[in-house]
Subunit: 337 residues, 2 copies
DNA sequence: ATTATATAGGACACCGGTTACACATCAAAA
DNA sequence: TTTTGATGTGTAACCGGTGTCCTATATAAT
């Protein structure tokens, strides 16, 4: 928060310099058609000469509009989110929005604060990748503000708003079915926390695939952990302590899978040979990891683009029917399985 | 850009509801000491009841201040920048700033547009990771605006402003000296474009290390490429066409090194055995790649934190002496060499 | 009782734009 | 000649806060 006695050139100064009124100058910056070419040119020259910089903030204040949107994600260190961010940026910059970025590190409190801050900054709307457990208070606040909002990646239960995500259940089912077809029947589920909705959806897919193959799920092969490389490493250790260790592991996401595979190598195990590993997300690194990771493409960039489009639509008409876009996942089989 | 006939609650409404003047209410949101506890409480209750949201934009307009800063980077897909971003965020959120993010993809035109947009949004200052070649026009514009600005990662020649970076020359020298000590004397330099200042600095380090060891640099072992995985892959191919191929390669950065190592495996070569590879940056992935990459730590997060601090200082006093912070690089020897 | 000094709160202009509306000018239509 | 309408520009209020200055009341000091 800082003071800046800026020597900012104002529209008034431009108008004075060009010998017109401020209103006329204003019409020119917004290139209104009802201005003669002569005055237009005259004023534009004054602008250049004085080094005029348009003040979008003042303009937005008066016109009750906004040219910014907020993007709230959980962690930029996760390439999944940086790809999503790329998608959002790409789409919204086309539309002339500038993006406020905030990261929650999966903390509800932080998310709450970010939402407030962004509102205070008059964002036109928000794309929110919610934390894993949202307090009812947060949900209530969002609902009351009635600001254009699109959730992405994770859905907030009970909050009815636009949403973009993929069919996690189906994605996991594809991955597990693939492992079962490869002959595995003791498949572990590593990583994630079972109280998050993201985990629950994945788990349903996990169960479905087993059921369709006539197998039953062994609950003792479920190992929760933080959704990080380190979490994956620890979860693997736990799973290997099992009396009858799994022959294949499904990881909550690619980050966890990387941790698992790294740990396997440390223990002298070869991913893909001694044990199959599949991940979820298909971040760029998945294809270049050694061995390349079998994983489910989760289209982060597409999610970003779609979320941006939905937000743009909603900003134009906040009362329209709410929309959900669920992208179809895709399995990429590589050498880790 | 969107219109929103917001049902925003204003300070006036709060004041009316509480039976005080707008000015008094204003003093309360800024918790001025000269307000009695009774009225303070009364007004705060009105705020809660009406669901008042502070309008930082209007406040900033009047007080000629800003609570936002702009961060301009070249590419979020590069983990180096996402780590830098994390550092910036961490520091500036402490100070109460909100961050506008923009990515240039190394295009001067895009950078120019982003700078304008951010100025129009009244940012209090900008942290700029400049594109590799800045047009003189851009430089002149930045200079004229006289806005608090800190450059990071790359320096802009002729633009005198605060800067945070590392000692690239020394970093490369450490890496090359390491290779020479391992017995290599035909070392290739892969990736990057020789007209960027970042490339030139690295090259100086490359030359210095050779000179100190009494070796001469073979210009035919320099292969430029885009600073991406694909670029690295192609550069490696080129280098292998050489009549007398190198026994070790130095890569412009880790991304290039990953491309190089991936390509090596495709060709049946083992990084670290058939050919040594070193990178630059030490992104998180470097330690978990297979084989783990020998590389020079470039402290992106620290750069971010330092840049944020410098910017904060400069915003407080734009006329102070310009500062440069050059961090010392550090070599991480791993299995790729 | 009178003056001095805080203390609490109000009135009003202002930040840099936009907008509704009024007004002047000039050409074409009646 | 008067009316009509289109075109181009000015006037003044307004967006939602902050800053400056001023007044009313209470308390303390003389």
């Amino acid at each position: 928060m800082a003071k800046k006695k800026s020597g900012r050139v104002t529209l008034q100064q431009v108008a004075d310099h060009a010998g017109v009124s401020r209103a006329t100058a204003s019409l020119i910056v917004r290139n209104s058609p009802s201005i003669s070419d002569a005055t237009k040119k005259k004023v534009q020259e004054s602008m250049k000469e004085l080094g005029y910089v348009y003040d979008r903030v003042a303009a937005n204040l008066r016109s009750q509009s906004s040219s910014t949107i907020g993007l709230i994600i959980t962690d930029i260190a996760n390439p999944y989110y940086s790809e999503l961010l790329t998608g959002v940026h790409q789409k919204l910059e086309e539309e002339g929005y500038t993006v406020f970025l905030g990261t929650t590190f999966d903390s509800d409190a932080k998310q709450d604060k970010l939402l407030s801050t962004m509102l205070e900054h008059r964002v036109g709307g928000v794309i929110l990748c919610p934390v894993s457990d949202n307090s009812p208070a947060t949900i209530e606040r969002i609902r009351q503000w009635n600001i254009p909002i699109v959730t992405a990646v994770r859905e907030i239960p009970d909050l009815h708003c636009d949403y973009v995500g993929i069919d996690y259940e189906k994605g996991v089912e594809m991955a597990i079915t693939h492992l079962i077809e490869k002959g595995h029947n003791r498949i572990a589920f590593l990583g994630g926390l079972s109280d998050s909705s993201a985990w629950k959806k994945r788990f349903e897919g996990f169960v479905n695939a087993h059921e369709k193959a006539g197998l039953s799920v062994d609950d003792s092969l479920i190992f929760q952990s933080a959704v990080t490389r380190e979490g994956g490493s620890k979860a693997l250790d736990e799973s290997l302590k099992h009396a009858e260790p799994p022959t294949a592991v499904f990881c909550f996401n690619d980050l966890v899978a990387f941790g698992v595979m790294q740990r396997m190598r440390e223990l002298g195990l070869k991913p893909g040979e001694d044990m199959s590993v599949v991940g979820f997300d298909n971040v760029l690194e998945a294809a270049t990891f050694y061995p390349p990771l079998t994983t489910v493409e989760a289209f982060p960039k597409h999610i970003g683009i779609n979320a941006a489009s939905l937000l743009h639509e909603r900003i134009k008409d906040n009362s329209r029917e709410e929309q959900r876009i669920i992208l179809e996942p895709e399995l990429f089989v590589r050498e880790s399985s």
